[in-house]
Symmetry: C2
Subunit: 638 residues, 2 copies
């Protein structure tokens, strides 16, 4: 195979690849991550690049217009190099650091913790501990083996009367030299399992604390917290896009990719491990620590993310009757999956409940503390899927409904994730239909993100631009130019091209509105189905807890207005952000929390919404703004 030079602009980064490599793959090798919504099938049009020089082979042009093609725009997944090329990757095609997470990191230093109460409740009893051990030197008459000598002292220090203390082979292999080089004064890191402690590291005596990682594997983003296990403090955190995004936006396209060809499962597993390791490296470098300082990790992710993380074939998650391979796995050694940690350190994965209610939801449920009181609590994690948990200390039911990718910007003409350039708030003057908006990063808008879309939907309705079914009212009395007909659709202009960061008007179309109504209808129908099945009235709910990156920015008033969330007093709503990683941190710090998580996973009854007609009936009823049954939304003026 001949080698070809591919130069990426504006970085001017050049990489050499084999002839026949796709541009998206070449970019990935150059460390430039390009969006993909369809798993490199050439159908979503998200991966556009501009070929500046060279003549690569074009196998498909998907959604590109003749004008796009004329100015050199190509789909990077459908374009293959056969000679040297120079390619520009425009900002809108790039996967970027997530706004939410960047913000956290930019704060720097020690971060504010909101879950301190819970931590107090569970008490500090971390999954890894570190003890200083000073041993006497062996003699001809005191000739116990190295391990017997250390074990005896560890048992004394740990008061491990009931639990044993074990040592794995790889640590044993380092033991004789470690003890003698440290002159019998060592620091020993141990993980604690249900029935025994395990030594994971023996180093020269020191008083540094043990550290651990709390990891949230989202379909979209991955977040890692570095936690000081001696006091529970979050020392640092870092988040980024899940590198699996190049194989598709949602769990279904990831599954399709994973099972499409031999080796794909390993490739997609490697992508998420690399994502986590990349974040870990950034944190370790900032904190001047090394991988061996990390003694334990807790991972929370949805069922598919967890199976992909573990390299377990997820195909049956997608196929009826939707069977995951497992709910929980025993703790794994870091070396088994290649996490950058001490190699014998244990990685705990949150158990899942079913194919579409995963470990992230179990983790979040723990953070809500809903299973420890009499009050009925509704917990909703809104993303591509909406996962819903309802219950209290006596019972817990859960379900999942597919909202589609709308709230994360997918399936919406100008939809995008919550990152710089995304419209996140919209105001429409009901008379003139003039628009003002707020853009993340205070730059020119290039699209609209989930919270902006919820806002827009509410404002379009309030201004009478759409009716309750989402149909555009072209005869609006304002006769605004913003409301217009195109050959394809009806649309409303949110930002004119001259106000925008791209070269086009940023619009929301009737098709977008219909998609949004289906998305909000699915979530609401899920909530209603669960309430109906357990015969709980919405007024009996004491708290509604909203999680997810999206949930952080959601406007409750607008959400109720469009019928996404139940119409209860605003003070009953709580937003807890990324509850998945928060729960992971709790479990890392407390054996009790970890055990509670395991119990939660078993305790939660999963309701499969595709069985019976309840969900379908509720869904159809919810395809109006706010709903066909207005008595459910007394506070909404229709």
């Amino acid at each position: 195979m001949a080698a070809c030079q591919v130069k990426f602009m504006p970085e001017s980064r050049t990489i050499e690849v084999e002839e026949g490599t796709s541009l998206v793959k070449a970019a990935s090798q150059a460390g430039i991550y390009i969006k993909s919504g369809c798993g490199a099938k050439g159908s979503c049009g998200a991966c556009r690049v501009i070929v500046l020089s060279g003549e690569p082979e074009v196998r498909g042009t998907g959604k590109l217009t003749p004008e796009d093609i004329a100015r050199g725009v190509r789909l990077s997944c459908q374009t293959f190099v056969h000679g040297d090329v120079t390619v520009e990757v425009p900002p809108e095609s790039r996967l970027q650091e997530h706004q939410v997470l960047m913000e956290d990191v930019q704060k720097g230093g020690l971060l504010q913790e909101t879950e301190q109460d819970l931590l107090d409740k569970f008490s500090l009893h971390p999954l890894a501990t570190k003890v200083r051990v000073k041993l006497s030197e062996p003699t001809l008459t005191e000739n116990a083996s190295d391990w017997a000598r250390l074990q005896l002292e560890l048992r004394r220090i740990l008061a491990a009367g009931v639990k044993g203390v074990d040592i794995p082979l790889s640590v044993l292999q380092t033991l004789p030299e470690a003890l003698r080089q440290a002159q019998w004064d060592v620091a020993v890191t141990l993980t604690e399992g249900e029935d025994k402690y395990t030594v994971v590291r023996v180093e020269k005596g020191n008083d540094r604390p043990p550290y651990g990682l709390a990891i949230d594997i989202g379909t979209t983003t991955v977040v890692v917290y570095l936690v000081d296990l001696s006091n529970g403090r979050v020392i640092d955190k870092q988040g980024t896009y899940n590198k699996q995004a190049k194989f598709g936006d949602d769990v279904i396209s990831r599954i399709v990719y994973a099972v499409d060809a031999p080796g794909n499962l390993q490739e997609i597993q490697r992508a998420v491990i690399d994502t986590i390791n990349g974040l870990t490296e950034q944190i370790l470098s900032r904190q001047k620590l090394e991988p061996a300082d990390l003694g334990a990790a807790v991972v929370a992710g949805n069922t598919t993310m967890t199976q992909l993380f573990l390299g377990v074939d997820p195909r049956y998650v997608r196929l009826e009757p939707y069977i995951p391979t497992m709910n929980g796995v025993p703790p794994l050694k870091a070396q088994e999956i290649g996490l950058k940690m001490v190699s014998e350190g244990l990685v705990h994965c949150f158990p899942s409940v079913a194919s579409y209610v995963g470990g992230d939801i179990v983790s979040g449920t723990m953070v809500t503390d809903m299973a420890n009181g009499e009050e009925i609590v509704l917990f909703i994690d809104i993303g591509t899927n909406g996962e819903i948990v309802l219950g209290n200390q006596d019972w817990l039911v859960s379900c999942a409904c597919s909202a589609g990718p709308c709230f994360e910007g997918g399936g919406i003409l100008f939809g995008m994730r919550a990152m710089p350039g995304a419209i996140e708030r919209v105001y429409i003057d009901p008379d003139s239909l003039d628009v003002s908006f707020k853009v993340i990063g205070r730059i020119l808008p290039v699209g609209i993100c989930g919270s902006g879309l919820v806002d827009a939907l509410a404002k379009l309705r309030e201004a009478g631009i759409i009716d309750r079914a989402g149909n555009f009212q072209m005869e609006h009395p304002s006769h605004s130019e913003r409301l217009r007909l195109t050959p394809d659709d009806k649309e409303f202009v949110l930002a004119w091209a001259h106000q925008a960061g791209g070269d086009k008007d940023v619009v929301i179309t009737e098709n977008d509105v219909k998609n949004l109504i289906r998305a909000k209808g699915a979530i609401y129908a899920g909530i209603r189905s669960l309430l109906t099945m357990v015969a709980v009235d919405v007024d009996m709910i004491s708290r509604i807890v909203i999680a997810g990156g999206f949930g952080n920015y959601l406007n409750v008033h607008d959400s109720v207005e469009i019928g996404l969330l139940p119409d209860v007093p605003a003070e009953r709503y709580e937003f807890i952000g990324n509850s998945s990683v928060k729960g992971a941190r709790l479990a890392l710090l407390s054996q009790n929390a970890w055990h509670e998580a395991a119990e939660l996973g078993k305790k939660m009854t999963y309701i499969e919404l595709s069985v019976g007609t309840t969900f379908m009936d509720e869904f159809v009823s919810a395809l109006f703004l706010p709903h066909t049954d207005l008595s459910l939304f007394p506070s909404v003026v229709s």
Copy 2:
């Protein structure tokens, strides 16, 4: 580096090696194993070969005579190729299949078991089990995960109320396809630990039994038994030389090699794993089984062999105060050390007591059943080291004494291991000094093995050829030509060159006799020291159990005659052969036996003979035939 052709005769096997490779290494690469007594230091002279053509570089000639050198004899460890060479490897320089083990294998088929009583006592409860599980197919309403479905049924079948049932990641990764391809009818192999079962294999439903391996890693030989774990029967066995022999004959030279250069420890570990895997492959091939059919293994070896098997640096075993890295290790996964078995199958290593009382002795002690009765039993395993255990159900003491390599043929001019061509019985006419002998394999003699040496020593003394101190009596009334003086030594001809398989007279020298007296003196002094320290008189011992390949063939009368073994009635002696592998089989078949072994390891008190003067005093007293204190040997006519 240029490549050189090295041709080995009489095989006519040619191998290509890099310039500068030693002949012993080249031979090893060609699959021809040459003896080494000194770890390739050029001092023992065991690795002689004859260079037939070519001019390799000679760096040392050690014990070779000018005549040897003239006819092309070279030390293969000191001879390095710089061009093409042809080399003959004579039979006496080759490591060969051990006679004891070959004999067993030649029997073929099912083998007679002598430890049936013990097996009955412990009851069959093997370390791996196999169950047939038929599951119902999942549906939308019965949508438990694959593992939850299987786990529930396993718990029911195993009645695992107390113990959990776990599944490791690598088996989980195969689970979805395994269940569906088998149409939910599977055979599950499990290992059983103290607190849980672990699934190690899920295959299409069948009723084949689970199998396991009992492995004895001797310094000299390695033996593998294939055991049907459903009924305890030994299906097949195979033994061979430990491939580590090329790095030296005894544990000390192995340790020296292992720590001599980076990579050596891994090389010497690899050698024993290869030895075991080679034996396993032979057995599997004969029995038409595959590695995945092997669910568990139990390994017994001395402390150094166990550390080398596990890749644990053994240097402190050799250095005062002689500290092993560990006594026991938790069961290991086969994949951790590369044994040919199902990769998640557990390998149990017998715990050791101290640096020179290892897992093989713990295993043998279990086989003697001495820890379960009131009778005082003396257990002796005679090899390069003599390990001795004394006690009963209430107490157990142990020690080790270095007998040197005499009894295995080392340090004796015509010494050799018990293999074809070795004299194993000697008769000397006291008047004429005419000799008759018995040779293993009924071929011409080329040397003399341990049991032959014990015999020879007794007969030399009976015939008055040597005095009680081992001095040759050159004035013997027979005036036999067999008793003669050479420039180096005094010697007695056991077989004339014309009766022998080599081209020399087979002799025993005064130096040989002195070495043998030191060896037997060390063993006897060890026994006496132990008796003295616990104030037990030899008459209080009910049984004396002798183990070791050597022990199988030892003549009790002669052994007492030379003062190797205590002078007690012959009926108190028992020979149990390779007690190490027998104990390994017991442990494989019985959780109780395995736990008893772990307890035995802790219960046994180790006496370090180098502390104090008792052993040295006893040793000096034992340097006579049979002893300085003849009252200890009333049955011996002096």
